[in-house]
C-alpha cells in the first residue's frame, strides 16, 4: 500500500514535471501527438498519396492515429524510464526507496497521458464520422494494458543497463526511430512485400497496432495465434526485465 502511494506520488510528479513551466500545461501532452498526426497525415496522404490496402479500407488518418498514440506511449515511456534511475540519483543516494517505483512511474505516466489522448482521438474520429466501433474500446483497453506490461519489461531492462552502460540513453532515440519504422505504424502488414511479412512477427510491438485497428476499425484481424504469442512475449519480457533489474538493483548506488 505505501508502495502504491509512493508510485502515485511519482506519477503525479512526473506528469507535472513534464509540463512544469510550459504555458499549456498538460494540454501539451494531447497536442503533441495531434501535431505529429497532422504532419504525418499531410506527408503521407498529400505527398506520398498513401492508401490503406483493402476494398472498404478506412482513411489513412484514422489508420495512422490508432497506431500513433500507443507507439508514443511505448516510446516515450521507454525513453523516460531508461534514465529514471540516473535522473533520480540524488534521491537514490540519500533515501532508501524501492527503485522499481521510479521506473514504473515513468512508464505509467506516459501510458496515462497518451491513453487519455488515445481515447480523445478515438472519440474525435467518431465525432467526425469515421466508423469507429466504440464497442471495441474494452478490448482495446485490455490490449493497451498488455502493451504497458511489455513496455515495463523493456523499461526495467533498459533502466538497469543504463546505470552501467551510459551509451544506451544516447543510442535509444535512434533505436526507437528504427523500431517505429520496423513496426506497422505507418503501413499495414499487407503493404509489405510478401517475403518481409513474416519478419514483422519477430517485432514484439507489431501485434498491438494491428489489434487496435481490427478492434476499432475492423481491418483484417491478426491471427489468433498472434494474440497468444504477444501475450506470452509481453510476460516473458516483463519477467526477464524484472529479474535483471532485481539482480542489478543492489549495485546501482555504486555505479551512479
Amino acid at each position: 500500500m505505501p508502495a502504491l502511494r509512493l508510485a502515485l506520488h511519482f506519477i503525479r510528479r512526473d506528469i507535472r514535471n513534464r509540463y512544469l513551466g510550459s504555458f499549456s500545461g498538460g494540454l501539451w501532452a494531447l497536442l503533441q501527438p495531434l501535431a505529429q498526426l497532422a504532419v504525418y497525415g499531410f506527408v503521407f496522404v498529400y505527398v506520398f498519396k498513401a492508401k490503406v490496402p483493402g476494398a472498404d479500407a478506412p482513411g489513412y488518418v484514422p489508420f495512422l492515429a490508432l497506431a500513433l498514440w500507443p507507439w508514443t506511449a511505448f516510446a516515450e515511456g521507454l525513453s523516460r524510464a531508461t534514465t529514471a534511475i540516473q535522473d533520480n540519483a540524488a534521491l537514490i543516494r540519500k533515501v532508501a526507496l524501492p527503485r522499481e517505483i521510479l521506473v514504473f512511474s515513468a512508464v505509467a505516466a506516459s501510458f496515462l497521458i497518451q491513453g487519455i489522448g488515445f481515447l480523445a482521438i478515438v472519440l474525435a474520429l467518431r465525432a467526425f464520422g469515421v466508423p469507429v466501433d466504440l464497442f471495441g474500446l474494452p478490448q482495446t483497453a485490455a490490449m493497451y494494458a498488455q502493451l504497458f506490461a511489455l513496455a515495463l519489461g523493456f523499461a526495467f531492462l533498459f533502466a538497469a543497463l543504463q546505470v552501467f552502460v551510459r551509451d544506451l540513453a544516447a543510442a535509444l532515440p535512434q533505436l526507437l526511430m528504427l523500431w517505429m519504422f520496423a513496426s506497422p505504424v505507418f503501413y499495414a502488414r499487407t503493404s509489405l512485400p510478401e517475403k518481409y511479412r513474416g519478419a514483422l512477427g519477430f517485432n514484439p510491438f507489431t501485434h498491438y497496432p494491428e489489434f487496435f485497428r481490427s478492434a476499432l476499425l475492423h481491418t483484417p484481424a491478426p491471427p489468433l495465434a498472434s494474440d497468444a504469442i504477444a501475450l506470452g512475449g509481453a510476460l516473458l519480457v516483463l519477467v526477464i526485465g524484472w529479474a535483471l533489474f532485481r539482480r542489478l538493483d543492489p549495485h546501482f548506488e555504486d555505479f551512479l
Binding site: R5, L6, A90, L91, A96
Partner: protein, 404 residues
Amino acid sequence: MSAALVETRGLGKSYPLVFRSADRLRALWRLLVGHRNADSVAVLSDVSLRVERGQSLGLIGENGAGKSTLLKLLTGVLTPSAGSVTVDGRVGALLELGAGFHPEYSGRDNIALAAALYGLSAEETRAKLPEIVAFADIGRYIDEPVKHYSSGMTVRLGFAIVAALKPDLLITDEVLAVGDESFQKKCVRWMEEYLDAGGTMILVSHSMYHVQKLCRQAVWLKAGQVAASGDVYAVTQAYLAYQEGKSAASAARAPAAQNLEFHLLDLAVNGSTEDVAAQIDVGAQVRIRVRVHSRDGRMPVVIVGIARMDGTPVYGVSTEMDGVTPHRESQNVYAAEIVFAGLPLLPGAYVIKAHPLDSEGVRLFDTLERGLTVRGESREFGLVRLTHAWHECADAVPDRKAAP
C-alpha cells in the same frame, strides 16, 4: 534487557574501481554472471555495533573514515558487500545535508515527497505541514525551488521534516555544522527532547561538544574500522588525543627558528617533553616549564598561554607582567616554570602555547605548542569553571516571569 534497534555484524562495504567505460561493462558482466567484483576498494570492514532502543550513539572519525558510508548502510541506501544490518523500526535520516531534495521543486513539494517516501498518506502529510513549515522557519522560501536555498536553509527544511516524522531511529550526518547559532540550538533542544522521550539516535559530528552533549555512547571509525567504542567521554578523548598527536607530528619546527635571537629549546608539561597531548583531570595541577636559548645571552621574556583547540585564547601571561625573571641555567639558556594549581578548565581539548620575547617584551620569537586534554564529565557550559555560589532568594526580587 532492552531490544536492539540497530545491529550490524561484520559489516563491510567495498566500492568497485571504475575508471573507464570498459570497466563498467566488465563490472556489469561480473554482476550478471554472479562473480564478486574483484577490483574494488574497501571503505568499511568488519564493523559490528549495536544500538538499543533509547540509546544515543555518536559516530566520530576523520574525513573519509567511512562514517557516511556506515550511515548509508544503516538506512539501506547502500547494500553491504559483507556482513549484515538489521534495523527494527522506521528510520528518519538526514544524510549529507538535505533529505534527498529535488532541486527543481519547491520546499512544499519536497516535503510531500519526503512524507510519501516515509509512508505517510496525503492527509497525514497535510496535518504535519504547518508544523514542518514553522520548524524550518525559512519564510517565503518554502514556496521557492530548493535550488535557490542556501545550505543552511536546506538543512533547516531537512531537519524540520525529520523532526515532524518522529522516527524510531534518527540518523543525522553533520546537521549541526551548517545551521546558524539559533537553529543549532533549536536542533539540539529538539534532539534532547526526542532522546528524553525515548528516541534513539545516531549522530555524526566533528564537534566533540555536541557528541558529548547528546550521546552516551560513541564509536570512533578509523580508516573504515572501529578504532574504539564505548562510553562517549573515553572514546572522544582517545580520538582527540590521536588528532593532536597527528597535528603535532606534521608541524615539525622550521629550522629557521634556530638562528633567531631567542628560540625555544623545549616545553615540558607536567615534567614530560614528549610531543603528545598532556592529559589531566578537571581541577588538576599543570606545571609548564619552558627553556629558551638566547643567542646573545640576553634575558628573554617568556609568555605562556592556553587556548582552545579552535584558537580562542583562554588565558595568557608573561614573566614580565608578573615581574618574574627566568632562571639562567647556563650562558645562553634560560628556563621559566609556571604552575596552574587546580586548573579550572572544563573537559575538552586545549593547546598550551609558549613564546620567547626579547628583553623589552616587544618582539615575539618562535612558538611551541602542546595539546592538553582535560578529562572528566561535566554538564557545565563554556571553557572554565568560574567560582560561584547559589544563594537563597525566596523573598528577594519578584518573579520576572510574572512581570508583563
